[in-house]
C-alpha cells in the first residue's frame, strides 16, 4: 500500500515544475488558435475551425512542410550516425587522445545556435567554397538544407555523443568477452552486443533528435533566414512569421497546434518502436 503511493510521490516534484512551466501555459494558449487575433489587438473573435481549414488551403505552407521533413530525415540520420561514431571512437582504448577528443567534441555544444550559425557562414563562404571549389552552399537552394544540418550536427553532436557514451559504458565487458569466445568478429560484436544494449540510448537520441529537427528554428533563422527564396524555411519559422511578422497570430497558433499534434504522434510512435526493443538487464 505504502509502496503504491511512493511511486506517485516520486513524480510529483517534477510534475509540479512541468505543470507550471509548460502544461498550464499550453492550455492557456490553445484558445488563440480558434480566434482571428492579429497578435496586437486587445480583442479577438472566435471563428471556430476556420484557421484549421485554412491550413489545408494554404499553398505557402507546403514548401516549409517538405523542408521540415527533409531536415528531420537528413538531420536525424546524420546526427545519430556521427555521434554514435564519435562515442565509439572515444570509448576505445587510447588514454590521452580520448580525453582530449571528448572535450573537443563537446565544446561546440557551448556555442549558442546564433554564434554557431555565424561561424559557419564564414566557413561556408571563405573556407569550404575554396576547399571544394563550390559556391556558398547556404546560397544554393538544393544544398542549403544539408548545409544547415552540418551546422546543427557540429553544434549538437556532443550531446548525443555523451548519451551514447554513457550507454556504451553501461555494457558489461563480459558480454564482449563471451561473444569473442563464441568466435564473433568485430562487426558481429557490434550488431549482436552493442546495438541491442544501446537501445535505451537509441530511443532517447533518435526520438529527441528527430523532434528537435522537426522543430528546427534558431540555427536556420540565423544562417539563412529561411532562404534563399524560402528553400530552407521550416514550419517553425513559418509559424513564427505568422505570429510576429504577418499579424496572423490566430492562424500561426493554429498551425503550431496542429503541427505539435503531428509531432506528438510521430514522437510517440518512434519512441515506442525503440522502447519495445530495450533490453532490461
Amino acid at each position: 500500500m505504502k509502496k503504491k503511493m511512493t511511486k506517485y510521490l516520486f513524480v510529483i516534484p517534477g510534475f509540479c515544475f512541468f505543470a507550471f512551466a509548460m502544461l498550464i501555459p499550453f492550455v492557456m494558449g490553445i484558445n488563440i488558435a480558434f480566434t482571428n487575433w492579429d497578435g496586437v489587438a486587445t480583442e479577438y473573435r472566435y471563428i471556430g475551425l476556420k484557421n484549421f481549414v485554412d491550413i489545408f488551403k494554404d499553398a505557402r505552407i507546403r514548401t516549409p512542410f517538405y523542408n521540415t521533413l527533409e531536415f528531420a530525415l537528413i538531420g536525424t540520420v546524420v546526427s545519430n550516425v556521427v555521434s554514435l561514431c564519435l562515442a565509439m571512437l572515444i570509448n576505445s582504448k587510447f588514454g590521452k587522445l580520448k580525453s582530449v577528443a571528448r572535450t573537443i567534441f563537446f565544446i561546440p555544444v557551448c556555442f549558442s545556435s546564433v554564434l554557431t550559425a555565424f561561424l559557419w557562414k564564414f566557413l561556408y563562404r571563405e573556407f569550404i567554397s575554396d576547399l571544394f571549389g563550390v559556391k556558398n552552399l547556404l546560397g544554393n537552394p538544393s544544398w542549403v538544407i544539408p548545409a544547415i544540418v552540418i551546422i546543427g550536427v557540429w553544434n549538437g553532436a556532443g550531446i548525443n555523443m555523451l548519451i551514447y557514451l554513457s550507454g556504451l559504458k553501461n555494457i558489461p565487458m563480459e558480454l564482449y568477452e563471451a561473444a569473442r569466445a563464441d568466435g564473433a568478429n568485430v562487426f558481429q560484436q557490434f550488431t549482436r552486443v552493442t546495438l541491442p544494449l544501446l537501445m535505451p540510448a537509441f530511443s532517447v537520441c533518435v526520438t529527441l533528435t528527430l523532434t528537435s529537427w522537426l522543430k528546427e528554428f534558431a540555427t536556420t533563422l540565423s544562417a539563412t533566414g529561411g532562404g534563399p527564396g524560402g528553400a530552407s524555411r521550416t514550419v517553425s519559422i513559418y509559424v513564427y512569421e505568422n505570429l510576429y511578422k504577418y499579424y496572423k497570430a490566430g492562424y500561426g497558433q493554429a498551425v503550431s497546434f496542429l503541427f505539435s499534434l503531428c509531432l506528438i504522434v510521430i514522437g510517440l510512435c518512434v519512441s515506442s518502436f525503440f522502447r519495445k526493443r530495450e533490453v532490461e538487464l
Partner: protein, 279 residues
Amino acid sequence: MKHRKFTPGDVVVVLLTLAAIVVFVIPLYLAVITAFKSKPELSKSVLAWPEGLYLENFKEGMRRSDFFHSLRNSVLVTFPSVILIVLCASMSGYSVARHAQKTAALRLLDKMYLASLMIPFQILMIPVYRIYKSLNLLNSLPGMVLMLTGTSIAYASFLYVGFVKSIPREIEESAYMDGCSEIKTFWLITFPLLKPISATVAALHVMWLWNDFNISIILLQKEMVRTITVKQFYFFGQYTAEYGLAFAAAIVSMIPVVTCFAFMQKYIVNGIAAGAVKS
C-alpha cells in the same frame, strides 16, 4: 600493457579520431582567431592569423556586457536549475521506468513528457509572460529558475527512464529485503548507480541553460538580471554585427561551463563501468 602491439584496427581508430578532431577544431579555431581581430582586420580576411594580439575585443566585450554581473546572474539561474532538474528528473525517471508497466497514470505522464518536447516554445511565450506578470515573477532570477527547471524536466526524465532500466532490479530488491523503504533505496542504492547519466544530464543542462536565449529574453528584460548569453546579443545590431566582440565575450563566458564539463567527465566515464553493477 605498456608496449601493446598496435593492430591495424587501432591505427584506423586513431586516424579516424584525429580526422574527427580536425573537423571539429577548424570552426573552434575560427572562433578564437575572430575574437582577436578588430572589425576592419576581420573584414579584410576572416581566416588569416591575427596580425597582433588585439585584446580590445575582450576588454570592450566584457565592459559592454557588464561581464561579472551578468556572469553572476548566469550562475544563479543555471546551477540551481540543474540541481533541481537532476533531483526531480531522476526520481520521476526512476518511477516511470520501474512502475509504468503496471500503472496507467505513469504511462500517461511518460507520454505527456514526451509530447511536451514537441511543443515549440514560441506558442507558450505569451501565456508564460502573462502568468509571470500576474505572479510578479518577471525580472526575477528565482522565477527564471522555476521556468528553466519546468521546461527541462520532461527531457531529463526521458533520459533517465532508459538508463534506469539498464540497472538490474535485483540490487534494489535485495535492499527491500533488508527492510529499506523505496525512497531510501532510491537515494542510497539507485541514485549513486545513476551517476553517469546524472553527470550527463547535468553536463547537458548546464550547457543548455547557460545558453538559453528564448526564455531569458522574455522573462529577464532588465539589465540588472540579464544573463551573459543575452548580453552577447548586444553585439548583433539591426544592420551590422560586431563579430569580434561577440566571440570574445562568448569565449570568456564559456570558461565556467567548459570547466564544469571537464569536472563532470570523470563521473561520466568512471561511472557504472567502474564496477558497481558487476559486484
